[in-house]
Amino acid sequence: MKKFYTIKGACPQDCPDTCAMIYKVEDGKIAKVIGDPDNNLTKGRLCAKLNNFAEHHYNPERLLYPMKRVGKKGSNDFARISWDEALSEIKKNWQSIIKEYGAEAILPHAYLGNLGSLNGLTSGDRFFNALKTTVAEKTYCESGSSTAWMLTYGPIGGLDPESFAYSKCLVFWGHNPLSTQTHCWPFVLEARKKGAKIIVIDPVRTRTAKQADIHLAPKPGTDAALALSMINVIIEEGLYDAEYVGKYCSGFIELRKRAAQFTPEKASKICGISAENIILVAREFAKSKASAIRLGVALERHAGGGQAIRAITCLPALVGAWKYPGGGAVQMTLWSYPLKWDKMSRGEWIKPGTRVVNLLDLGAALTGEKYNTDITPIKSLFVYNSNPLCMAPNQNKVRMGLERDDLFTVVSEHFMTETARYADIVLPASMQGEQLDIMFSWGHFNILLNQKAVEPAGECVSNTELFRRLSKTMGMTRPHLFMTDWELIDEYVDWDSDTMRGIDLEVLKEKGWARLWVGGSPDIRAPYSKGNFPTPSGKCEFVATGAAEGNHVKPALRSGYTYFQQGSAIDPIPCYIPPYESVDSTPELAKKYPLAMVSGKAHAFLNSQYANEKLQKERQGEQIIIIHPNDANKRNLNSGEDVKIFNDRGSFSSIVEISEDIRPGVIYANVGYWDSMIKSQTGVNNVTDDRHTDMGESGAYSDILVQVEKM
C-alpha cells in the first residue's frame, strides 16, 4: 500500500503573494503541490509559474551532486566529486587567497532566489561576515523604492492588499499584478463590483492595463513629473484634505511650490500623455477618498526612480486616503514583520572599514573597473540564490569577469544556469519541499511556516546546512554559525512582538500560516488614519528630514553593515530627474539609438527561475520584443521576424511583435530567458547598463536607449 501524507508549506519565490501551499507526499516523493484552500489569499490556487512545483523538484536536469570544472570556463564540462572534496577544494583556494590578499578578496553574491528567512537573502551573511569577506550590497530590487518610501512614511507595511476590496479607486503604478501578484486580483474585482475605478500607469499595455478603466502610458522614467502634476491639480483645485495634511503631514508649502512647476501642460510634454488625462486621473484619485496606490518594482528602475516614489507616496496623504479602509499605498508589507534582521545578518561581526561591493556592479568589480581592486583584487566569487549572468545589468561585463581564469568561483544552484557554467565548483541546493523555513511576504500580512516534506534529492543541501558545512570547513567556532534550523527560527523572529499576538510555532505547524496583528481586519483597517507615521517628525514627510543622507541602502540589504554608504544628499522635496538616456534628455545618443527599452517580468517565469521548465517555456513562448507599428514601419519589420536589439553596450536577438500595446518610441522585452534559449546566445541584460539610480543604489535597468534592426 502506498504511504501517503500531506504537509503544510509556503512558496519560496520572490513574489508578493507568498502562497500557503500543501505538499502531497506519496511514497517519499512530492506527488503534487497545491495552494492551501483555507488560506485567505492563496484560496487553493498557485500560479502559471508554480503549478508544476512538484515536478520541478524532480526535473531530470536538476543538480544532485557537487561537481568540479574539468573544461574551459563556461563550457559546461564538469565531473562529479564528493562533498568532502568540494569543501576541501574551497578551503584550499580560500586559505591561499586569504593568505595572499586577505579575506576581502572573496565576494559573496546572493539575492532572492529563495525568499525564506533562513534560506533567503541573508542566509550567508553570518558566515561571510565572520569570514571577513567583502560585504555585498544587494540592491537588485526595491532598494531605492524602500529608501524613498521610508523617507516619506518610515518603515511601515502600509495598505493591506486585502483591503483593496474596500478601495474606491485603485492605481497600479508600474505594476502588473495579473502577472506578478495574481492573488490580490479577487479583491480588486470585489472593489470594482462596488464601483471602484481601476487605473493603470505603465508604458506598456500589460495584462493588468487591459483590465483597467483608465490606462496612462507615460514615457519611461517620467513618473515623478506625472505625480507632481497630479499633486499640482489636486492642490490648485482644492481637492486635498487640508485637515489631514495640516495635522499629519509636514512640508505642504514646499511641496505646493514644487508641484506648481508641473502644470498639466508641462507634464504632458515630459510624460507624453495629454493634460486632460492627467487632470482626469488626479481628480478621480482625489475625489474617491478611499484611494489606493500599489507601487510597482518597475518605478525605481530609472535615473530618478527614488524621487518618483517620493512624489507618488505623497499622493494618498495629500488627499487623506489613509483615513479610510482601502485607502493609502503599499510598497512592501514586509516592513511590518517582526524579523530580527540584525540577528539574521550579524552586521556587528564585520570589521569597520571592510569593502562594500554593490552587486549591480558585479561586472565592474570583477573586471577591476571599480572598488580599488588594484589594492585588493576579487579572487573568489561565491554565488547562491542568484543567477547574475542572466539578471545583472551589463551582461558582457559580467561575462568578462566570470571568464577570468584567476577567479575561483563557487556556485550553489538547482540547475546548470549560465552563471553556474562559469563555476569552478558547483554545489547542489535543495528546493523548498526539502527544507524548513519561515516565510515573510511583501504583499500581505501572513507569516508562514514551510515544513520539510521530503528529504533533499541526491546530495542537495539547504543554504542553512551549506553555511554550517562551510563554517566547519573554515575552522570557525562561533556557536551561532552552527545553530539548527529550528534554533534559527526561534532567533530570527521576534516571537514576543505585538504583531505576533496569538501566534506560536504550534499554531504555524498545524495551520501553516497566521495573519500578523497589524491593526484589524481588512474591512476596517486604517492604522494611519491619524498619522502616526514612524518618521523623525512622526508625520508623513513631504519634505524629507533624512534628505542629507537620503541616498542610502537599508542595512538589511548590505549584511547589516552601516559603513561606506556610497550615497549622498538628495533633494528633500520630491522632484523630477530626467532619464539618463532618452530622446528628450540625450538627443545626440538618441540619433543612434532612438528607442527606449523597458524590460519587465515574464508571466510564466520568476526572473530566470522556471525558464528551463518545458511547461513554462511553452506558456511564455520565445523571447519577443513588442514594438509600436509606427516604429516597425520605419524599420520595415513584420511580426514574427528575427530582430537584433543593440546599443554601445551589446546586443541580443528576439522575435518582433508589432502591437499598439506599447507606446511609440519604446520597446518592451521580458527578462528571464536563459542565453541558451535565444538565437544570439545573449540576453536582455546585454544592453542594460550598470548605472545606479538616485536612491538606494538601485539599478537603472529600464533607463536605456537601443536600436532595433532586422537580422
Binding site: K43, L178, T182, K210, R619
Partner: protein, 100 residues
C-alpha cells in the same frame, strides 16, 4: 496559451469553476461556458473543481478537443459568469454519460 473549456461542459454547466477563478475570465450562454484567453492567467484553479473535468490547460489538452480553442475564442460574445448558477437540468445525466 490559456485554459480551454471543452464540449464536456455542454448540457452540464456546473459553474464550480467561476467561483474559484480569480480573474472572472468565464463567459457563458445557455449551453456552456467559455474562457476568455486574454483574461485567463493560467492559474489552473478551475481544472480540479469541475465535476466532469471539462477544462484543460491548452498545454496538455488531448488532441480531440483542439477544435474547442476556436469555440472558446467566442467568449466575449457572451456575458461574464462570475457567480455560481444552477447546473443545467441535464447535468447529472450528462455527468454519468461522461463517466464521472
Amino acid at each position: 496559451m490559456a485554459h480551454i473549456v471543452t464540449n464536456k461542459c455542454q448540457r452540464c454547466r456546473f459553474t464550480h469553476c467561476v467561483e474559484v477563478c480569480p480573474v472572472a475570465c468565464f463567459h457563458g450562454d445557455e449551453e456552456r461556458l467559455y474562457i476568455d484567453a486574454d483574461t485567463c492567467i493560467d492559474c489552473s484553479a478551475c481544472i480540479e473543481v469541475c465535476p466532469v473535468r471539462a477544462i484543460y490547460d491548452q498545454y496538455d489538452m488531448p488532441e480531440e478537443y483542439q477544435t474547442c480553442i476556436a469555440i472558446n475564442s467566442k467568449a466575449l460574445d457572451f456575458p461574464v459568469i462570475d457567480t455560481k448558477h444552477e447546473p443545467l437540468p441535464t447535468a447529472m445525466e450528462r455527468k454519468k454519460e461522461l463517466g464521472y
